[in-house]
């Protein structure tokens, strides 16, 4: 029997961005052996990302929706848009990492290589047309982030965070695999499109096994995007991980999780929308409640931002609950905005870290406006945006999600979300109050670097620009999701 050779140039071309990132990751590890200055290694990472971004740009819009590698991998606007989010996340993370990792004495070349690998994992997730590929992408991303979390080997809390993240991650992977096998058992396929086809033709939308498979998959994704009650790892891991990695994984894996959630729920389980919406609504409410309320009592800014990111996951989920392409658009739009504002906020957190000073307590922000007015003003912008106050981008993100939610008839849920949003404004504004209305307790030295300044400039400008001119991003998102 002869083996059919199914790989064409088309197939290879479709994964060029992923290949680029992985190759650059490998090159970085080799480069690390000969180059002493880690800045150069980091710059190589950025260059690689830009290259991959260029690849995605070239692929963008060339084909409508293209399935390659025997329908394992899909190239569509939806995936490409998420890839753009991942690139932005990666570049910004590298920018804010360089100086910080030196201060933490953990500036290894592998750090940047792993960031690239993790990002390629996310990209594979976003492009996965098959549950097997999805799972492998997820593991690639997860494994890299576990290692990155524990990279500060001298710090017990970093190690602790990595261990926790690893074990709980493995636990959630088990759920994912269980869900996948149950679905496979019922439908006889792991391909997302074929699952959707099987569900409608076999009429198994009401089969309890399908329910279980669906729930288990939702649980696994919920873990990745930190939805309550599967969020327990997030505060500890976010606090323990290097701050740059916290920024990275508060955006990247979350976006990747939502990417697959959108694709699986709306693609594979489109016929079971009534079922998954019933599961997601309580999860969303619980998530927003947990995030907004517990964040109030935090004294560590990283922990506070961890809870904040949990709350934001709740808001993003609302767009998926709306269950329409417009709802998904709103969610994706929110994710892009969230990328900028969250990384921006973490960049400020990183700036406060200097040799011998952690700068992670809320108290450290007291009087920042007097000593460092620009940093304080930027933090103000990010906090306003996270709180959703116009004219920042955060407002636009929330506004569209809520509007779509109301449009789909979930008005009570939207009201609950607005209430929690108001509660969450509390702890964001508390930082502003600390910065502007309290007196400093000690001298704060900001750690600055050119790349950090670039990252801050980009994030703050984007937060304002997307707040004032939201339609172009929205148009871009709509255009990307259209084919989906």
């Amino acid at each position: 029997m002869d083996l059919p050779i199914t790989i064409t140039l088309m197939d290879i071309r479709a994964i060029v961005p992923e290949l680029t990132l992985i190759c650059v990751g490998l090159i970085i590890m080799l480069l690390d052996l000969v180059v002493k200055k880690k800045d150069l290694v980091a710059l190589a990472g950025i260059a690689g990302t830009v290259l991959a971004l260029f690849g995605t740009y070239k692929l963008y819009g060339v084909t409508d929706t293209q399935f390659v590698f025997s329908n394992m991998f899909v190239l569509d606007g939806y995936a490409n848009f998420f890839k753009v989010i991942f690139y932005i996340n990666l570049i910004l993370t590298i920018c804010i990492s360089i100086k910080y990792m030196e201060i933490e004495k953990s500036s290894f070349g592998e750090y940047y290589a792993l960031l690239l690998f993790a990002t390629s994992g996310m990209m594979i997730m976003a492009s996965a047309a098959d549950l097997i590929v999805l799972y492998l992408g997820l593991e690639l991303m997860a494994l890299s982030t576990y290692i990155l979390t524990g990279l500060m080997r001298k710090q017990p809390r970093s190690n602790e965070a990595a261990i926790k993240y690893f074990f709980l991650g493995a636990f959630s992977s088990a759920f994912l695999l269980y869900g996948i096998s149950l679905t496979y058992g019922m439908t006889g396929t792991t391909n997302i499109k074929e699952i959707a086809f099987a569900i409608s033709t076999l009429g198994i939308a009401d089969n309890p096994i399908m329910y279980l498979g669906l729930i288990f998959m939702i649980v696994a994704f919920s873990f990745k995007v930190a939805l309550a009650p599967f969020h327990m790892w997030a505060p500890d891991v976010y606090e323990g991980a290097p701050t740059s990695i916290t920024a990275f994984m508060s955006v990247g894996p979350k976006a990747a999780g939502f990417a697959v959630m959108g694709r699986i729920l709306m693609g594979a389980f489109g016929d079971m929308q009534a079922q998954w919406v019933t599961v997601l609504i309580p999860l969303a409410v619980l998530t927003m409640a947990t995030g907004s309320i517990i964040a109030l009592s935090q004294t560590n800014i990283k922990r506070m931002l961890a809870y904040s990111s949990i709350a934001h996951a709740g808001y993003i989920l609302l767009g998926i609950i709306a269950g329409t392409p417009e709802g998904l658009t709103a969610s994706v739009n929110y994710l892009m905005i969230y990328t900028f504002m969250n990384i921006g906020a973490f960049a400020i957190v990183i700036m406060l870290r200097s040799k011998g000073f952690q700068g992670e307590n809320l108290d450290d922000y007291k009087g920042l406006a007097k000593s460092h007015p620009v940093a304080a003003a930027l933090m103000l912008i990010f906090m306003f945006s996270l709180a959703g106050i116009p004219p920042t981008a955060g407002f636009i993100g929330k506004f569209y999600v809520f509007m779509e939610l109301i449009g789909s008839g979930y008005t009570p849920l939207a009201i609950i979300a607005i209430i929690f949003s108001a509660i969450s404004a509390f702890f964001y504004l508390r930082i502003v109050v600390y910065m502007y209305m309290k007196d400093a307790e000690q001298e704060i030295v900001l750690t600055q670097s050119p790349t950090m300044n670039i990252a801050l400039a980009v994030t703050s400008v984007m937060v304002l620009v997307l707040g004032i001119f939201p339609s172009f991003l929205l148009y871009f998102v709509r255009y990307s999701i259209m084919g989906y």
Binding site: I215, T278, F469, S471
Partner: protein, 644 residues
């Protein structure tokens, strides 16, 4: 389209550059960015005005901010005749004030910051006047308030300055709250915030009522009164006038900017802009007229006895704003806007002139640089300042054929024609004009005439201000004299009321039914009170310098009440400020103790079992987390199968 957008954007750009790079790079060169920016705006504004003069009305939506189904909020600009007048006022006077500031603020530590805020202020004001919908106007409105807080409290190391800034901000918040409610009500009523759509649909809701706290309230009256509430705050009308005199704590260019060209005119502009709405509600119109008329005379009486040179001018501003509202209230919108326009010139001149005096005294190292009682005889030291001051005073008091005469006369004449209430308000206005003439000349005599009453050593150091200060003064003086020539009443010159006809498409042109004889009577009485006030001041401060003292002692209680501004600040302090402060202290304390502490301690205990060992490094934690996840899964599965 770009050139219209650039009008507000140039100052914004100047703000961004100065605030970002001012501290480290620009420092004392901030004006090289700010002044060209505002001059650029001015030039563009002029070209836009020329287009409007040629009959073009620019109403464009620049882009849609939020579009979601039928909900559409767009950012757009509207340059019609009214906006054109405002643009000219804001950019021309703004430019002069910017140039003046170069000299006045020279050497100040926050030089770059000052120009940054000033630019932002101009940007906000331009946004406010160029908006084509209520939302953008509201944004500009709030931004103006915020900027005034920064600018009034610019010398924040001075406690009084910080307090004044806060006061301006807080008093304005009360008004803005009303304005905000008004905008929301407009949106709920009309389903749109666009001016044209709202004004177009306004006729359809006349007579509609809504039930408010059990009372039936006329909808359009309610909207108008809420809007007017905002106007009262911004334009410092009684009882929200208290912030304006205190705003003198800011640098003098700021006072000029706030009082002449920008912030205080926002309220007048807004009412004029919404004239369609107001015209449908006689109640609202009467309220506006009465508040305006009362404020005009009320503020004038306070100005009679103040000793701080800027404070006198500040109360004069409040009084003049009263005139403008009086005009708006009797339906003579164009007269109100006309007065706004002329007032901008002579009031900016008065402020900048007083700034020149303060600047000179400051450099002469006199301690009490704003107190008129220790000035005097400055005429010979500062001739330019003196002469421009004289021109401004002649203009504000309404001496014929200067700017103030035409606009004030137009207001009084239109008021006179407006029925019985109008006659009464005219009387108040004429009386206020008398007082205006008196306190204006009192200011001149105390400051420039007689002998210097301060330290003689100081006197030798007093010099005329530098050219960068005096040139804007002279340019403004031209405006103070000639700006009014565009609104000559028909009795003097056929078709002389050019500005009235220019504004007519937006504001309408009231056809008076008074006779020529009546008009001559009104004009004559105006001239009479202006000269009478002058003469009284002359007698009291030049002929008989001892007379004021005698009068004060004879009418001590009256003087005391006036000097203390009717004790309104004290009244507010006792009835509102202190109780609120006390209550809020208590609330904040209670909040801190109960809510924050409660949340801090309570929430973790809510999570109970799982949170106890939260910070400890132990594996127990990990399995707890896993257990929570497992329980979570169980709950979801159970919910799915059994609860649904």
């Amino acid at each position: 389209m770009l050139k219209y957008i650039l009008i507000p954007l140039l100052p914004l750009l100047s703000f961004i550059i100065n605030i970002l790079f001012g501290r480290n790079y620009i420092k004392n060169r901030a004006h090289w960015i700010a002044v060209p920016a505002i001059l650029g705006s001015f030039v563009l504004a002029v070209s836009a005005c020329i287009e409007v003069l040629n009959g073009k009305v620019i109403d464009i939506n620049v882009y849609s901010w939020i579009v979601s189904g039928s909900f559409n909020v767009s950012v757009g600009i509207l340059i019609d005749q009214l906006t054109a007048v405002m643009l000219m006022v804001v950019t021309s006077i703004g430019s002069l004030i910017f140039i003046y500031s170069v000299g006045y603020m020279h050497g100040d530590k926050g030089y770059y910051r000052f120009f940054a805020y000033l630019s932002l202020f101009i940007f906000s004001m331009l946004t406010l006047v160029m908006a084509n919908n209520f939302l953008i106007m509201y944004l500009g409105w709030e931004a103006v308030g915020l900027c005034s807080y920064f600018l009034i409290g610019f010398w924040f190391h001075k406690k009084s300055a910080g307090d004044a800034g806060k006061k301006a901000f807080i008093v304005n918040r009360f008004g803005d709250f009303g304005f905000g409610l008004g905008v929301i009500l407009i949106f709920l009523t009309f389903g749109s915030l666009n001016y044209m759509e709202v004004f177009g649909a306004a006729g359809g809701i006349v007579g509609q009522t809504i039930t408010l706290l059990g009372y039936k309230v006329d909808l359009i009256t309610l909207i108008c009164l809420l809007l007017f509430c905002g106007a009262m705050g911004k334009s410092a009308q009684f009882p929200f006038h208290v912030w304006l005199p205190d705003a003198m704590e800011g640098p003098t260019p700021v006072s000029a900017l706030i009082h002449a060209a920008t912030m205080v005119t926002a309220g007048v502009f807004m009412v004029a802009r919404c004239n369609t709405l107001f015209s449908y509600s006689q109640t609202a119109m009467n309220t506006v007229a009465i508040v305006g008329g009362f404020t005009a005379i009320f503020a004038a009486t306070i100005a009679l006895v103040q000793n701080d040179i800027k404070r006198v001018i500040a109360y004069s501003t409040v009084s003049q704003l009263g005139y403008m509202f009086l005009a708006l209230g009797v339906g003579a919108y164009s007269a109100g806007v006309f007065h706004l326009y002329t007032h901008a010139f002579f009031k900016a001149l008065l402020f900048l002139g007083s700034g020149s005096v303060i600047h000179a005294l400051h450099h002469a190292k006199q301690d009490d640089e704003q107190n008129m009682q220790v000035m005097g005889g400055l005429k010979k030291h500062m001739p330019i300042t003196y002469w421009v001051f004289i021109l401004a005073t002649l203009s504000i008091t309404g001496i014929p054929f200067l700017s103030g005469f035409f606009s004030k006369d137009e207001i009084l004449w239109q008021t006179f024609q407006a029925g019985d209430l109008g006659k009464f308000l005219w009387f108040l206005g004429a009386l206020a004009a008398l007082l205006t003439a008196f306190y204006s000349w009192r200011l001149i005599y105390l400051t420039f005439h007689g002998e210097y009453r301060g330290d003689t050593e100081c006197e030798s150091r007093i010099h005329e201000s530098p050219l960068v200060i005096t040139i804007p003064l002279m340019l403004l003086a031209v405006g103070a004299v000639a700006a009014g020539w565009v609104g000559i009443p028909p009795v003097f010159l056929e078709h002389g009321d050019k500005i009235g006809y220019f504004l007519a498409p937006v504001l309408g042109h009231p056809e008076g039914h008074g006779t020529h004889a009546q008009e001559y009577f009104v004009i004559a009485s105006s001239i009479f009170v202006a000269i009478a006030g002058w003469v009284i001041a002359y007698i009291m401060y030049i002929k008989n310098p001892g007379l004021p003292e005698k009068l004060f002692s004879a009418f001590r209680p009256v003087h005391k009440v006036l000097f203390n501004k009717y004790y309104i600040d004290e009244f507010y302090d006792k009835t509102i400020v202190q109780p609120v402060l006390k209550a809020s202290d208590k609330i904040i304390l209670a909040f801190d103790v109960n809510v924050i502490e409660g949340v801090v301690n309570g929430v973790p205990s809510l999570i109970g079992v799982f949170s106890k060992g939260l910070r400890k490094i132990q594996t127990g934690l990990l399995s707890n987390y896993a257990a929570v996840m497992a329980i979570g899964v169980l709950c979801v599965v159970g919910y799915m199968f059994f609860m649904r």
